[in-house]
Symmetry: C2
Subunit: 287 residues, 2 copies
């Protein structure tokens, strides 16, 4: 496994693989890897000849006052996990390599970036779309693998790739969870013991929402109420949003007629956690 | 020479060439080709194994009320010129292929898009950066060739490619001119006989500006005055801008100490024409 620190070297490696007829799978990360990332790497390893994992805590997707500076890092631990998962390369550029002086170009995916996390983090998805464009141009993957935990991010990337005619496939993988249901996230490390216990209420509330839809409740506002009720078990907590939206384009909906996603962002203590669940109404002939 | 109408087919052709070890040169155009375009194609033909010319009148770089609908078109004439210049492919997608329903992604190069043409056409360079990103992703060129007549556009593309880590080289080629100095442009077709004659004053005024710099005038405002004086010969005309700026990043300057560009946009009749000239102060030991 090689560690690549510059755009130029990454492109040369990618060109070498492609010239040899090899396919490239890519897993973008901000490091501090957990089992969710491992599941993405395992998928990438199975889908292509070469597997590249990027580790880059991307400053342009953090706003001032967010946790850029304290975001957890553990390059040695990450290196071991990548090696064990069978990665061929870690792409590990510096912030100066990615954003040198005079940098001035940004990619905006408009509609799907609005609302949900885009409301409280207005430049977040611009940063995500920009860094992913840069990473795709350096790594030249045939397939890129993202987690469904960041559901809005996954849709932003799918729209980005489609709209800009990028020649790669985007795969979304199911969220990997702790035993009590909490979605794995590098940010879970910020939680103290009490907060960690209360955080399990997030996924319980989402499962209750899905159960209600499956029992026939098709009013998104009622489903949001179910989640709000379930999140009482996480108190004290601060709810950023609870929303039921169309699963394909995140447009607001008045009734659940097609697959929908229930997405939440909750601050427990100082830690902002997000999660989501997909849910589909029973086909009418099933009822 | 093949004519390619879809993103998917273009990418497959590009992959085929690259797999064979061939290099790809790309000349983007909006069609209605003239000798300026031919010079770009000749350069592309000399620099790579395969030459792709795109013909696409890009709606996102026109504002409402601009000349999108009346922009001149002549696909049969263009096809012959591309064939004669030795192109291997014309990439000729429809507007629906490039911007299908639900399209929502734009690329913004910030600083160099401001001022000059960006002032009177505020979304123009966003459209240019976006379409070039899409064309690069479909054609996968090793080298892309642009004309220096659209000087600000050339800098936007150079910044775009550098900032987003696109793995291709951007070449700017000298402006090709009519005998009386008028820069070749598909829009010259809009001019009636009297307008066409007056339009020659644009380049005369730019040459006078360069001569003044070479004689030692280093005040950008004085140089702009020289151009304004020269443009009296184009009257009646409407001056959009006359500006002397840094040649590398288009930043405003107070004195000409390094290479500068004098750029103008002038409306003669209903036709907006642009042109520019590079000029450098004599090195101090020359004086």
């Amino acid at each position: 496994m090689i560690i690549v620190r510059t755009v130029r070297e990454m492109q040369m490696r990618a060109d070498d693989w492609r010239r040899e007829g090899k396919t490239i799978a890519f897993v973008p990360t901000m490091g501090f890897l957990h089992d969710g990332h491992i599941s993405l790497m395992t998928e990438g390893r199975a889908r292509a000849d070469a597997l590249v994992v990027s580790i880059f805590v991307n400053p342009t997707q953090f706003a001032p006052g967010e946790d850029l500076d304290k975001y957890p890092r553990d390059f040695e631990g990450d290196e071991l996990k990548c090696r064990t998962a069978g990665a061929d390369a870690i792409y590990y550029p510096s912030a100066g390599e990615m954003y040198p002086e005079g940098y001035q170009t940004y990619v905006n995916v408009q509609e799907v970036s609005r609302g949900l996390c885009g409301a409280s983090r207005p430049t977040h998805f611009r940063g995500v779309a920009t860094i992913c464009t840069k990473l795709f141009n350096a790594i030249k993957p045939h397939v890129a693998i993202f987690g469904q935990k960041d559901y809005q991010q996954l849709l932003v990337i799918q729209h980005l790739v489609k709209d800009l005619d990028m020649d790669l496939q985007v795969i979304g993988m199911p969220t990997v969870r702790e035993k009590d249901g909490l979605a794995m996230s590098s940010r879970n490390k910020y939680l103290n013991e009490g907060e960690r216990k209360r955080a399990a209420a997030i996924y319980r509330s989402l499962k209750a929402a899905r159960a209600a839809v499956e029992k026939g409740e098709l009013n998104p506002r009622a489903i949001e109420g179910v989640i709000r009720g379930g999140l009482k078990e996480a108190e004290p907590c601060e709810i950023d949003y609870i929303e039921v939206r169309d699963a394909d384009d995140l447009s607001p909906i008045e009734q659940i007629r097609r697959p929908a996603v229930a997405a939440v962002a909750v601050k427990i203590g100082a830690t902002r956690l997000i999660d989501n669940i997909l849910m589909a109404p029973l086909a009418s002939h099933d009822r």
